[in-house]
């Protein structure tokens, strides 16, 4: 009997094993294992960097630590929804936002919570691929770039989603269809009109600005379209820069201005917003438009609130003649002045500095061109718009740099007195600019790939040399330390220096900022591959 039973058990076992083997071997792995590693640029917070890993559907959050002189790196992983697209961080660094294009949700991570991996999802209803963050932390707006047309069945490109965070993270966003597809969304800081707090944003579209009233309680007030051309048939003018001026203006009380610079024409459009004067208008705001002469080919502008002078617009002019235009907003008068540099300026930085013997800090503007080794410092308070042309040495002063700057960054921690010029070529070195004396200190050597500041020191890494430079912002004196590979980015966190090297899998070196030597440094490679065997890729 036992023999018979054994035989039939054998038959049963064989059949089961055959079915299991034949069926079980069908499995194949996720395509993500063989697709390129898709790691975003870091989104920096107060003490952490966040990298979006699209293939893993995760966010890698890394922080440098320094414990008794011993460098370390802590990594946290945050799960995203499906097909994460854009990632952004709130201005205070405490909240991280990831748009899940597959799930059509916005995932909101509270990085200051006890459980720092906790999150809430906001239903968006669409795969938005642009995210705009309110600097004041009250709103997030999402829109479509229109760039990704693959797999799109039907999508309203004019639609935006508004996430109101004032009362916490909502379950569902609000949706609004604009008059035109937004190229960019810009938030105005909070302001008061007629004693009421208001929030506005602007949508930049071809030949049109749409003002979005974020606190509107009805659809009529929500959107106000402001055309930039007289007719749709006119040549298209694309807005390049929008600046809100919400400061109190004695000459125009209860009015805020929105300045719009476009890629055509010789003027700046000023949009004036004030509470509706006529009760029967049915509108919350009155909107009017003013054109301000801005000189030839305006390329960049800054709104300057100058004591005893008022509001001025400083506009950089393009073309063959290096020049800038100052506009007195109150009178509408403007004047164009030459810049003592050899090519038209392409960018400007506004800063304040306390001149020797002065009682208060003075607003100044640093204008530069990526094609000229000269930069110019403008003293706008000394310029009379309707008066004489400024002369070099009084109101506009030139600074000679080592080479043409690729970009210039302000060393904010130095109190606005220093700026660093990055140069283009590998062996062009860099320049430390003293903005109090208007002199540049040339540093010979490799060009910087990134730079950060802590106190009176600057820390830089080079794109073509495995070294770290620490330099004194006052004297410019550089000290060079070794790195295991050329650095791509550098951050200061918790008294430690975090250097990111090139490579998609996450290569970092953590050093003691006070003594960045090899002995106390630690190298972390393949950080984004940590726990690889435990990953279930989508």
């Amino acid at each position: 009997m036992w023999t018979q039973t054994g035989k039939w058990l054998g038959v049963l076992g064989a059949a089961t094993a055959f079915v299991v083997l034949s069926a079980g071997c069908e499995e194949t792995i996720s395509n993500a294992w063989n697709e390129p590693f898709q790691i975003s640029a870091p989104v920096a917070g107060a003490d952490e960097l966040a990298y979006l890993n699209r293939g893993f559907e995760q966010v890698h959050v890394v922080s440098a630590t320094l414990d008794a002189g011993s460098a370390g790196l802590v990594q946290t992983r945050l799960e995203t929804g499906s097909e994460p697209g854009k990632m952004a961080r709130s201005a205070d660094g405490k909240t991280l936002f990831v748009v899940n294009e597959g799930d059509k949700t916005l995932r909101v991570y509270d990085r200051s919570a006890v459980d720092s991996t906790s999150y809430k999802d906001v239903v968006l209803g669409g795969p938005y691929d642009r995210i705009s963050i309110d600097p004041e932390g009250d709103f997030v707006m999402l829109s479509y770039t229109g760039a990704n047309s693959q797999n799109v069945i039907a999508q309203n490109l004019n639609e935006i989603a508004i996430v109101d965070l004032r009362a916490g993270v909502p379950e569902v966003a609000e949706f609004t269809t604009l008059f035109n597809r937004p190229q960019e969304l810009v938030f105005a800081p909070g302001f008061e009109l007629a004693g009421k707090t208001e929030r506005l944003a602007a949508s930049l579209s071809p030949s049109e600005i749409t003002l979005i009233d974020l606190l509107a309680d009805n659809e009529l007030d929500r959107l106000r379209s402001v055309p930039l051309t007289i007719s749709q048939a006119d040549e298209v003018r694309n807005p390049k820069q929008v600046v809100f001026d919400t400061s109190a203006n004695p000459s125009a009380p209860d009015t805020i201005s929105v300045y719009v610079l476009t890629d055509r024409g010789q003027d700046i459009t000023q949009i004036l917003v004030q509470p509706s004067l006529r009760a029967d208008s049915g509108r919350k705001f009155d909107v009017s438009i003013n054109q301000l002469a801005a000189g030839p080919q305006p390329v960049k502008m800054a709104v300057l609130e100058l004591p005893e002078v008022g509001t001025r617009l400083l506009v950089l002019n393009g073309g063959s003649r290096p020049a800038f235009t100052m506009i007195d907003v109150a009178s509408g008068e403007s004047a164009t002045f030459d810049l003592p540099i050899t090519a038209a300026a392409t960018d400007l930085l506004v800063f304040k500095t306390l001149a020797a013997g002065a009682e208060r800090a003075e607003t100044r503007v640093l204008a530069y061109s990526t094609s000229s080794p000269l930069a110019a410092v403008i003293r706008p308070e000394s310029i009379t718009v309707s008066g004489d042309a400024p002369t070099a040495g009084r109101t506009v002063e030139a600074i000679r740099l080592r080479q043409s700057p690729e970009r210039i960054v302000m060393a904010d921690e130095s109190g606005g007195d220093r700026a660093i010029a990055f140069h283009k070529n590998n062996r062009d070195g860099f320049s430390v600019i003293n903005l109090r004396t208007n002199r540049a200190i040339p540093i010979q050597g490799y060009s910087l790939s990134d730079l950060t500041f802590a106190g009176s020191l600057g820390y830089g890494v080079f794109s073509a040399s495995p070294h770290l430079v620490v330099f004194d912002l006052e004297t410019g004196h550089p000290t060079v330390f070794d790195l295991p590979a050329a650095g791509q980015r550098i951050f200061v966190q918790d008294d430690a220096l975090l250097v990111q090297h090139s490579g998609r899998t996450g290569r970092f070196t953590v050093l003691d900022a006070a003594k960045p030597v090899v002995k106390t440094a630690r190298v972390y490679e393949n950080v984004f591959l940590e726990g690889l065997f435990e990953q279930e890729l989508p």
Partner: protein, 238 residues
């Protein structure tokens, strides 16, 4: 892949049925002592997701060597004792070449193999084994030419399998005769389950320069799974 798994399934069916339905008189009595040598291709299907990093389909390939001794005259008719050695490895470039992984495993086992000789040409069997496994993982990332990360693990391994051996007509010459009559050539295969304690690759150390490099942690690799092998068997009368 599907074909391979089906073949393994058929092998399993043949093995189990063979042992189950063996005639009572096939459990050979007194006979010459024999050495048995096996050389086989080896496949293991590990369903764990942890294997995805080193295999596209969960299949791990290698070779298996075995040296057995027929214990019919000493313990139980039809019983053999084996020393088995399995070696397998995979090399994968993951994430479009961003990470290059090389994994290998060696297993040494003592095994008991029990089965009847049927008609002098077929031997279905059941096999149980227990032994030691070592794994090695090497990893090199894109752009990192100066450092290579490596870790080893040491684990316990066990297997349970059924199989078969099919011989060319078997010599029954009791006197032995020429050297060729002392050898019998056949094909054989097994299918079963190979268990191994989960390997923890938590300290991939860098080789290379003076920099202090933090070890990497890849986590646990679970290579438990169904395995099968197929190859040559040589029986030598001694």
């Amino acid at each position: 892949m599907k074909f391979k798994c089906s073949a393994a399934g058929l092998m399993l069916v043949a093995g189990i049925l063979g042992v189950s339905f063996a005639p009572a008189d096939s459990w050979a009595a007194e006979k010459d002592d024999e050495l048995v040598l096996e050389v086989r291709g080896f496949s293991l299907y590990a369903p764990s997701d942890s294997v995805d990093a080193i295999s596209d389909d969960g299949l791990l390939q290698g070779v298996s060597l075995g040296l057995g001794y027929d214990l019919t005259n000493y313990v139980v008719p039809g019983l053999r004792g084996y020393v088995l050695f399995d070696a397998m490895g995979e090399s994968k470039a993951r994430f479009d070449g961003a990470a290059n992984l090389e994994w290998s495993r060696q297993v040494v086992m003592l095994a008991a193999d029990y089965g009847p000789d049927l008609w002098g040409m077929l031997r279905p069997s059941v096999r149980l084994g227990l032994g030691y496994a070592t794994q090695k993982l090497q990893m090199q990332s894109e752009g990192s030419t100066d450092s290579r990360y490596e870790d080893h693990t040491h684990d316990l391994a066990a297997l349970g399998a059924v199989g078969f051996e099919l011989y060319f007509p078997y010599s029954t010459d009791e006197e032995g005769g020429s050297i060729f009559k002392r050898f019998t050539l056949g094909v054989g295969g097994h299918v079963g389950y190979m268990f191994q304690t989960v390997a923890e690759f938590d300290e991939l150390e860098a080789t290379g320069d003076s920099w202090q490099r933090a070890p990497m942690n890849f986590g646990e690799l679970d290579v438990n799974g169904v395995y099968w092998n197929l190859g040559l068997v040589v029986r030598v009368k001694i």
